[in-house]
């Protein structure tokens, strides 16, 4: 790895081992690992990856995980006849969990989600019901009386996007994916690639030390296509790199140079590693599917990670278009179908790669939407149903609690906007725990997790 990357790992390692000393070394080393936290990761020889599949715009939960038992379906249809799915179209994607839900409740996935439905049946995917942003456990009465702290700016896209990803509204400087990266960077060769984003910048992957690395679906971009001369001059080509990365006392100029330096320093290592894992070796992904393109790059990066000595990695992929205030029936089935197809292809690819147990994917979104329609679409909501997927997932199960279907029930705050029963913090803590984050580090990753009883931190889905 380059000197730049080595320095990053070394600095992170020293920062963490300083805390190792404070934790005390009287007890045998192995038994103190969980209390110490990342020392386990720093010396881990296995590989684990978390993949956040972000559905940008606020996915419509009611037409994704659809009430199927007759009573619930009737309530669903009553609330949104003009944007509702026909019950007989749901038969093929009816979910049959290991243990039935209370009260005979049933759900089917949208008809276009055959991929995720089959993974559910195979025990490789699970559904987490009614999950959303909260600061602390919140009842409907508390919400209505405003007697507990609530996430600020509920129903606002950019703030809820930030809150879901970072436990803080727009302007957040780090997200829980990045904060996990902070803990594990020191154990990674090429630690610059600890947090990888295939769709631009997202606060989710920003750590306090870990800086996300952006890579496109075609791999890292080669400066001047690796040409050694610029306009006939090798001096000009060298000067180009020097200028692009020149430090400055001006903050904006300096930051731009830092990004360029990261790009140029990482290029050779990453493109070489990816060259050994060309796209042609990952044929299961459907075409015309931007999420699939991104997940193919994630699969290639995971392959590359084995040669680069990366042990813990957090990925962010994203697909937009979910803010369906209108045209829901025309657009949602195709869009959520693409999510299902891409995720299924990704799972199958990890099986072929032999890393299915080591990669856990999970969906995320700004918020859910209203159950009731605005005639041909739905509006901003709150709680939503999400998917977790991977070889380590305890699948074919529902987690959380099935909300009552309707308007102004005990489980919604009007128009079928669900009041979350499971918080993003608990969802994240479950994933973090699998990833190797110890109890002692959980509050660093999730500042609000202390507001929940520690027995509820791990939902058990992975």
């Amino acid at each position: 790895m380059s000197r730049f990357q080595h320095d990053q790992s070394r600095r992170a390692f020293l920062r963490r081992t300083g805390q190792l000393a404070l934790a005390g070394t009287a007890a045998p080393f192995l038994t103190t690992l969980s209390a110490i936290g990342d020392a386990a990761a720093a010396t881990a020889t296995d590989y684990k990856a978390l993949v956040c599949v972000y559905l940008a715009g606020g996915n419509d939960y009611a037409n994704t995980v659809v009430p199927y038992d007759q009573a619930s379906y009737n309530a669903y249809w009553a609330a949104r006849a003009n944007i509702g799915l026909q019950r007989d179209a749901l038969a093929n994607t009816l979910l049959t969990p290991r243990t039935g839900l209370d009260g005979g409740r049933q759900y089917a996935l949208a008809p276009t989600m055959g991929g995720l439905a089959s993974l559910f049946a195979d025990g490789k995917a699970a559904v987490v019901l009614n999950l959303g942003t909260l600061v602390q456990p919140t009842t409907k009465a508390q919400y209505q009386q405003n007697s507990v702290k609530l996430p600020p700016k509920l129903f606002s896209h950019n703030d809820q996007t930030s809150y879901f990803q970072a436990s803080s509204p727009e302007g957040a400087t780090s997200g829980w994916g990045g904060r996990m990266g902070d803990l594990f960077m020191s154990g990674n060769g090429a630690s610059t690639l600890t947090c990888v984003n295939t769709s631009g910048n997202a606060v989710f992957l920003a750590g306090k030390q870990a800086v996300q690395y952006a890579v496109g679906t075609g791999g890292p971009v080669a400066l001047l296509n690796n040409a050694k001369s610029l306009y006939g001059s090798s001096t000009a080509a060298t000067t180009l790199r020097t200028l692009m990365t020149a430090q400055s006392t001006q903050m904006f100029a300096n930051e731009h140079a830092r990004v360029s330096k990261r790009a140029l320093d990482t290029y050779a290592t990453l493109s070489s590693a990816l060259g050994a894992a060309p796209a042609s070796g990952f044929p299961l992904f459907p075409s015309n599917n931007s999420l699939a393109d991104q997940l193919r790059m994630v699969a290639r990066m995971i392959t590359a990670s084995q040669t680069l000595g990366i042990r813990r990695q957090v990925f962010f992929v994203s697909i937009g278009g979910f803010d369906m205030h209108d045209l829901l029936m025309a657009q949602h089935p195709t869009l959520i179908g693409k999510v299902s197809d891409a995720m299924k292809a990704f799972y199958d690819t990890t099986v072929a790669m032999g890393v299915a147990q080591q990669v856990t994917s999970f969906t995320a979104s700004d918020f859910g939407r209203t159950l009731q329609s605005n005639d041909d679409g739905s509006d901003h909501g709150w709680g939503s149903h999400h998917f977790v997927m991977g070889g380590a997932v305890a699948g074919q199960r529902f987690y959380g609690r099935a909300p009552v279907v309707g308007n102004n029930t005990a489980d919604d705050v009007g128009q079928g906007r669900l009041l979350p029963a499971v918080s993003v913090d608990q969802y994240a803590a479950t994933l973090a725990s699998w990833f190797g984050v110890g109890a002692g580090d959980m509050r660093t990753v999730l500042p609000n997790i202390g507001n929940y009883d520690s027995s509820t931190w791990n939902l058990g889905f992975v």
């Binding site: 692009m244 731009h256 360029s260 205030h325 605005n374 005639d375």
Partner: protein, 570 residues
């Protein structure tokens, strides 16, 4: 103290504390054609409206006019146009800021986007469901139209009052978008309230923010009106989330920020934006895409709607206008809109005093008029924080240059045109092969970058500053940009070729060449290290080599375009 051009400027004691500078700022409308900071002796030019509170005397003192430097001229044009040219720099030096603004404010549009599309035959059935024509008319006007201040402000408004063609679900989308951009350009020098009214009855906006054919509530189905426009109009276009003081600071109570609106306000306001539909059913031509929307009484809510402490009832355009009146009258609008306009044109982190000076003009232009865009634009561009030299040596003043403006700046500086009228630059949104930004192609109403974005793990964020344009800056985009510009600089694109004749005449003298490129593209803001390095690279191609003048010129240009000091606009 004197700056490097021998002009008198006020001392600057700090980087962020610009409001400590004892310089009155805004040049009063109709005042002398002098850079604002030269009026330090005049004791204030802003009258009772735009004042930083630091001026003492209000008695004008006659000051002999001092010529604008070329660097100052280029810097102004870099803020007020889509890019400086040698010709426009010289012309501004002669005319002065006030004269230039007067000329630009008076300049009628040479052609509208709509008319250009029609004149060039884009209104044929084959184009009904594809976007062909949109990018060409956008690039053409941004690069070549003479009403450059209007183009620059129009672009700023499009970054703020966002519509992206990908989210316009209408036939003739290129025409619908053209009509929308025309609304912004036609109203750029008018009244903010009129502008907001015009976008509210625009077909592309109604489709993008999903209020076209928005229905009133239906008790039988439980359907409620679509809330999208009500929310985004308040959150993004006019008020923002939190109550603001005139200096842009957030009002708090007990340390908690005070919100401007809640969910109930959104739901209440949504009732008003019901019933708007396209002006006709005729889809055989694009015409209805530029006609203001009309009211369908059957879809429109005529009952009472309550929001922001106001009630409107009776429905129709009257209710919409009453609602917009109430919103635009809200005390948040001057600071909220002014700060964003400053961020678009001048600097990402204006001082509270700068915001206050501009917001005060927005609230009242000096003649009792609220939302006078000309007055606001003048206040922004002539403010000492925009014109003074303090920003040039500050660690934190300025902004990252928007990628689109890097392209238009190069194109304008070197006479790039399209003889065939194709203007085939195309969609430049790709972050892996283009600019990561393209006008009118934002993927959502949140634009390519947010006004409040702070890049994580940076000194910028650590200092509590924002840098919106960094939201589209990452390891892909920084390399893709250089690659793309390296091909444009050498070959142009399609029939759009640069003309380096004037530069090539200086090419054998690397100092003169680099100085000229630095002046026109970077307003002279490249540092000495960069200049030295670029000169050495230029000189690595011997003047006797084949094609030397062209190669040396290209090297000077591309290395400038890739320099962090160029990429930072001060």
């Amino acid at each position: 103290m004197l700056d490097s051009d021998g002009l008198r400027v006020a001392d600057d004691r700090g980087t962020l504390a610009v409001d400590a500078v004892a310089t009155p700022s805004a040049v009063k409308a109709g005042g002398a054609a002098l850079p604002a900071f030269l009026l330090a002796a005049c004791g204030g030019g802003g009258g009772d409206g735009a004042t930083s509170g630091t001026s003492s005397s209000t008695t004008p003192v006659t000051v002999a006019p001092v010529a604008l430097s070329a660097a100052q001229s280029s810097r102004f044009l870099g803020q007020a146009t889509m890019g400086a040219t040698r010709g426009s720099i010289d012309a501004l030096v002669s005319r002065g800021f006030e004269g230039w603004l007067t000329d630009q404010f008076a300049m009628p549009r040479a052609t509208s986007h709509w008319d250009w599309l029609v004149k060039n035959g884009f209104n044929v059935t084959a184009n009904m469901n594809i976007e062909t024509g949109f990018d060409p008319t956008m690039w053409r006007q941004l690069i070549a139209e003479p009403d450059q201040l209007r183009q620059r402000v129009g672009m700023a408004l499009l970054d703020m009052l966002v519509v992206g063609i990908g989210g316009v679900n209408l036939s003739w989308a290129q025409f619908a978008m053209a009509a929308y951009v025309d609304v912004l350009l036609d109203n750029a020098f008018g009244s903010f309230r009129t502008l907001i009214g015009a976008i509210t009855t625009n077909a592309a906006m109604a489709s993008f923010l999903t209020f076209l054919n928005n229905r009133k509530a239906n008790a039988n189905t439980g359907a409620q009106p679509d809330e999208n426009y009500a929310r985004e109009l308040m959150q993004l276009f006019t008020l923002g989330l939190y109550q603001l003081n005139m200096d842009g600071s957030v009002k708090t109570s007990g340390g908690v920020p005070l919100e401007t609106y809640g969910q109930a306000d959104v739901t209440g306001l949504a009732r008003v934006f019901t019933g708007l539909q396209l002006a006709s059913n005729d889809n055989t031509t694009p015409d209805r895409m530029r006609q203001p929307l009309v009211m369908n009484a059957g879809l429109n809510e005529t009952g009472t709607s309550t929001f922001l402490g106001t009630t409107v009832s009776g429905g129709g355009m009257a209710a919409i206008n009453a609602a917009l009146d109430a919103i635009v009258a809200h005390p948040n609008v001057p600071p909220f809109v002014s700060k964003q306009l400053i961020q678009r044109l001048v600097t990402s982190n204006p001082s509270p005093a700068y915001i206050q000076r501009v917001a005060t003009v927005f609230a009242d232009n000096g003649s009792g008029v609220r939302g006078d865009m000309k007055a606001v634009i003048r206040a922004i561009l002539l403010d000492s924080e925009a014109r003074g030299d303090a920003a040039l040596s500050s660690a934190s003043a300025g902004k990252l240059r928007e990628p689109v403006m890097r392209l238009t700046g190069w194109a304008r500086a070197y006479g790039v045109t399209s003889p065939s009228n194709a203007w085939a630059i195309g969609d430049t949104s790709s972050p892996s092969s283009r600019l990561g930004q393209s006008m009118g192609r934002s993927p959502s109403v949140f634009n390519f970058f947010r006004p409040g974005y702070a890049p994580p793990d940076t000194a910028i964020a650590g200092a509590g500053l924002v840098a919106p344009e960094f939201q589209i800056t990452n390891e892909q985009s920084v390399v893709a940009y250089v690659n793309y510009m390296s091909t444009l600089v050498a070959n142009g694109t399609g029939d759009m070729k640069p003309d380096y004749t004037a530069l090539a005449a200086k090419a054998s003298d690397s100092a003169a060449l680099v100085d000229e490129v630095n002046l026109v593209l970077a307003a002279g803001q490249l540092g000495s290290d960069a200049i030295t390095a670029i000169r050495a690279a230029v000189d690595s191609v011997a003047s006797t080599a084949t094609n030397a003048a062209t190669l040396r010129t290209q090297i000077a240009i591309l290395l400038t375009l890739a320099s962090p000091e160029y990429l930072t606009v001060k």
